[in-house]
């Protein structure tokens, strides 16, 4: 039985949802045009991930094995609706920027994957740690992609222009392609390759096959 610390940290780097497991890719590319959007998406998905993992784990004795996937989907959809309403109520600008990708959290494979592979088999507290760790890993990955695309593609960071010299002149021409669709694919492809090269994933040549655990 792994330690609590391990349950939390494994989702951040070793089993990072986006770069290693390659799940939940759609929002990772679609909403990472800026760090702010990436952070908002990461927080929304993490909230759903933690809540659904805890509830699935608490109900694991009650959910029959044959109908577990529909049950997970209903639990996840409920939390997505709640997050959607909270975002619309308190962070209206962010909710407009993320548009359909907030309701689409419901079909994010990371969340269903963790409910199936972890929440359904483990205790409530462990599921909470697993959800928090995976959510943090997802958020950090989104911020990393968003940061690269915003700094190099738009020439800003958190909406403030950077790349200015002492006289306020722009010293770097932003590469607009990076905030458009092609840039997203290229940045994520390069980051994935980088993660493999620096991580210990070289020993596992089958890493591009989806592994739930």
């Amino acid at each position: 039985m792994p330690s609590y610390r391990e349950e939390f940290t494994k989702g951040i780097f070793k089993n990072n949802g986006i770069f290693v497991l390659m799940l939940g890719l759609c929002p990772a590319l679609a909403v990472t045009t800026s760090v702010t959007n990436a952070f908002a998406m990461g927080m929304a998905a993490s909230a759903v991930l933690i809540c659904s993992n805890v509830i699935v784990s608490a109900l694991r004795g009650l959910i029959p094995k044959a109908v577990r996937i529909p049950c997970f989907i209903v639990v996840i959809a409920t939390f997505v609706t709640m997050v959607d309403m909270v975002m619309k109520g308190f962070f209206y600008e962010q909710s407009r920027a993320l548009a359909i990708f907030i309701p689409l959290i419901v079909v994010n494979c990371i969340i269903l994957g963790r409910a199936e592979a972890f929440g359904y088999k483990n205790t409530v507290f462990r599921s909470f740690l697993d959800g928090a760790g995976t959510g943090l890993g997802f958020t950090l990955a989104l911020i990393l992609i968003g940061g690269i695309r915003e700094v190099l593609g738009a020439g800003t960071l958190l909406g403030y222009p950077i790349w200015l010299d002492a006289y306020g002149r722009t010293v770097f021409q932003p590469m607009t392609g990076l905030v458009l669709a092609p840039g997203a694919f290229i940045v994520v492809g390069l980051l994935m390759a980088g993660f493999r090269a620096i991580g210990r994933h070289r020993q596992h040549p089958q890493m591009d096959q989806v592994t739930w655990e």
Partner: protein, 217 residues
């Protein structure tokens, strides 16, 4: 529904706003299933089929049940009641759409297994994966709550068909590229998904050339 509108929907969803390379929907099956041409075709047909059905059903659900002052709310709660005027969009869209899609996929799978076994053998295994394909849920949302203007039932179904065909087109292109990539000597850390992403990026760059085509954004 005139021919011009049909063509507009077709070009928009096939090329200009292609679901995979421009709208980033359905990437998991796109990366996971595009390493082989037969898999790509099977997945493409299954997705097109489910997207068409899902567009039809979710549009009816939206127009007759969920919108404010809909037929269902008027009949059950009476016109002018609080819930009739508020509608159910905020609270029920996500839950009802995902349930409709999940049960639709299950139903199609059972129907095909019973009545069209040849087709079931060709695309049966992909059907199970489609419930969590965000392209299906995405087309349902883009047809209804997030549509720029009301598409009508025909428009919604057409958008479903052409979005699915656009998905199939990109799947096939990618499968062709990846079959060639098998024989190339790419660095080990780029093997598989990372190089596929870089190729998709170049493909997306090519698809950007369609922007503004036929007066569409």
């Amino acid at each position: 529904m005139n021919l011009q509108l049909i063509l507009q929907i077709a070009i928009l969803n096939l090329f200009v706003q292609n679901f995979v390379v421009q709208r980033f929907l359905g990437l998991c099956p796109f990366i996971g299933q595009s390493d082989d041409k037969h898999k790509a075709i099977g997945m493409g047909i299954a997705v097109t089929f489910v997207m068409t059905m899902a567009s039809f059903v979710t549009y009816l659900l939206y127009a007759y049940f969920l919108v404010p002052d809909s037929w269902f709310l008027r009949t059950v709660f009476g016109p002018g009641a609080g819930i009739t005027e508020a509608g159910l969009l905020d609270v029920l869209v996500t839950v009802s759409y995902i349930l409709v899609i999940a049960s639709l996929v299950q139903f199609v799978e059972m129907f095909l297994r019973r009545f069209v076994p040849t087709l079931y053998r060709a695309m049966g295994i992909y059907l199970a994966l489609i419930t969590t394909n965000c392209a299906v849920m995405g087309v349902a949302l883009l047809n209804t709550t997030d549509a720029p203007q009301d598409l009508g039932l025909t428009g919604a179904v057409l958008q479903g068909v052409f979005a699915g065909l656009g998905f199939t087109l990109v799947m096939l292109l990618m499968a062709g590229i990846r079959e060639r990539l098998e024989y190339l000597n790419v660095p080990p850390c780029f093997k598989g998904a990372p190089i596929a992403f870089l190729c998709t990026g170049l493909m997306a760059l090519a698809f950007l050339g369609f922007a503004g085509m036929a007066g569409l954004g």
